[in-house]
């Protein structure tokens, strides 16, 4: 007799480690890319803006699964001549794509910081760079937290698409269970509910961060 699917729940749950490696890596890389891209788009020279706009357009307009295959089979091995494993490729692709989205979140946040703040900082003798890092960014990063919460929910659900490269995250493991037990409804429903729980749990964590760093009166004045 085939084993029943719920005996494999611990096995599926172990996939959460891989899922959160993808999510954490993708978000962190996306952050490292998104913040400078947004600053370049707002404060950079015209040629740089054009390059960054093209980057954002490409990664926002192409489906994730196409990007994963393009990088895993094309860009890394053929174009750059390096062989990366599925997990590393997935994190890099999620990060590049999230960077494009996050840059738009930060651009909105940078734009919502009042123009007068920059002028005041310059009037006090700060350089443009000092004004950005000491005055504008601390405010913009706080304003961007709700947008980042959304990005977490999106990247969590998109991490499931990395099953196509065989990263052994939640969905890949769920499919193994489906194949070995011959039952599909239970395992896939379980996986779906797991993603809902992780979405709401993670959103709660981001809301706590938002409250912790919240400056009363900041949001609403600049916007």
């Amino acid at each position: 007799m085939d084993p029943v699917w719920w005996e494999y729940i611990p096995y599926i749950l172990q996939g959460a480690i891989w899922t959160f490696t993808l999510v954490g890596g993708g978000l962190a890389l996306g952050f490292a890319i998104g913040v400078p891209v947004a600053m370049g788009q707002k404060y950079g020279p015209t040629w740089l803006k054009a390059v960054l706009d093209a980057y954002v357009w490409f990664f926002r307009g192409t489906p994730l699964v196409v990007l994963l295959f393009l990088f895993y089979w094309g860009v890394f091995p053929v174009l750059l001549g390096i062989k990366l494993d599925a997990l590393t490729t997935s994190i890099i692709v999620l990060g590049l794509r999230s960077g494009a989205y996050q840059s738009q979140i930060f651009r909105g946040a940078l734009n919502s910081v009042d123009e007068g703040q920059m002028l005041a900082a310059r009037a006090l003798g700060m350089t443009k760079w000092q004004a950005i890092t000491n005055i504008i960014l601390p405010q913009a990063l706080r304003i961007a937290i709700p947008g980042w919460t959304n990005e977490y929910a999106i990247i969590l659900k998109d991490s499931a698409i990395c099953f196509t490269l065989g990263v052994i995250e939640i969905l890949t493991r769920t499919r193994y269970v489906v194949i070995s037990t011959g039952e599909a409804l239970g395992p896939f429903l379980f996986a779906g509910i797991l993603y809902i729980i992780f979405t709401y749990g993670g959103t709660k964590v981001f809301n706590i961060i938002y409250e912790k760093y919240h400056i009363p009166g900041l949001v609403g004045k600049g916007v």
């Binding site: 357009w57 490409f58 926002r60 307009g61 192409t62 489906p63 994730l64 699964v65 196409v66 990007l67 295959f69 393009l70 089979w73 094309g74 860009v75 053929v78 174009l79 659900k157 998109d158 499931a160 698409i161 099953f163 196509t164 969905l171 499919r175 489906v178 039952e183 599909a184 409804l185 896939f188 429903l189 996986a191 779906g192 509910i193 993603y195 809902i196 979405t199 709401y200």
Partner: protein, 220 residues
């Protein structure tokens, strides 16, 4: 036959299949979104609860999981959907749920005075919704809906997981014959970029066409 002579007709066939899903799923998603969004603001307690549970479920499930559930999960219950039906239904359930949030937000953003005035003129709650609230709310929700429509175009590439022969599915099979992944997937990217960029311009034109000068100010 060479690589390009074989690949181009094949991928265009895939593109036609992609569009064939989207022409049904996009309007159906918008219709479902309007129904769900309205139900969550105007419905009675049980209807609200059902609509909310529906939205929480299909926004919470990754689209791939919904696709697998409809295709393999329903088969456990003796319901067999074709890949085309699965893809269309999954996009409508997922897209409709995401879009309904914009409709709900837009309905709630409309001044309560509009509702009171409609009722004072003797309209029923349903007439008020259809003739007064929705024509304004849908215009307000349109930028958000446009975004979701563009998402749906991109996520249509996931239909390959249930074996639907769209752009990505045919490309994936094709590289096992000619191993030219860079060219194949760049063509895919170009097709999706063309579709999303065209949709973005088209939807912006639609927003402009439906715009009522001064409406934005009056309903704020």
């Amino acid at each position: 036959m060479g690589f390009w002579e074989e690949f181009i007709p094949l991928v265009l066939h895939g593109a036609v299949n992609t569009l064939w899903v989207l022409v049904i799923s996009i309007p159906a998603s918008v219709a479902l979104a309007i129904a769900l969004g309205s139900a969550r603001v105007y419905g009675n307690a049980p209807i609200k609860a059902i609509a909310t549970a529906f939205v929480v479920t299909f926004r919470g499930f990754p689209l791939v999981v919904t696709l697998f559930l409809l295709f393999f999960g329903l088969a456990d219950l003796g319901i067999y959907l074709t890949p085309y039906q699965t893809a269309t239904l999954a996009f409508v359930l997922c897209g409709g749920s995401y879009m309904s949030e914009y409709v709900r937000g837009a309905i709630r953003s409309i001044d309560i005075g509009q509702s009171l005035a409609a009722r004072a003129l003797g309209m029923t709650k349903f007439q008020e919704l259809i003739y007064i609230i929705l024509p304004q709310a849908i215009r307000r929700a349109l930028p958000g809906l446009s975004n979701e429509i563009i998402y749906q175009i991109k996520y249509s590439s996931l239909a390959f997981v249930v074996g639907y022969e769209e752009i990505f599915a045919v490309s994936k099979t094709f590289i096992s014959r000619y191993f030219m992944p860079l060219q194949v997937f760049m063509v895919d990217a170009a097709l999706y970029l063309a579709m999303t960029t065209a949709a973005a311009y088209g939807l912006r034109a639609l927003e402009y066409k439906l715009r009522i000068p001064g409406l934005e100010m009056s309903i704020r």
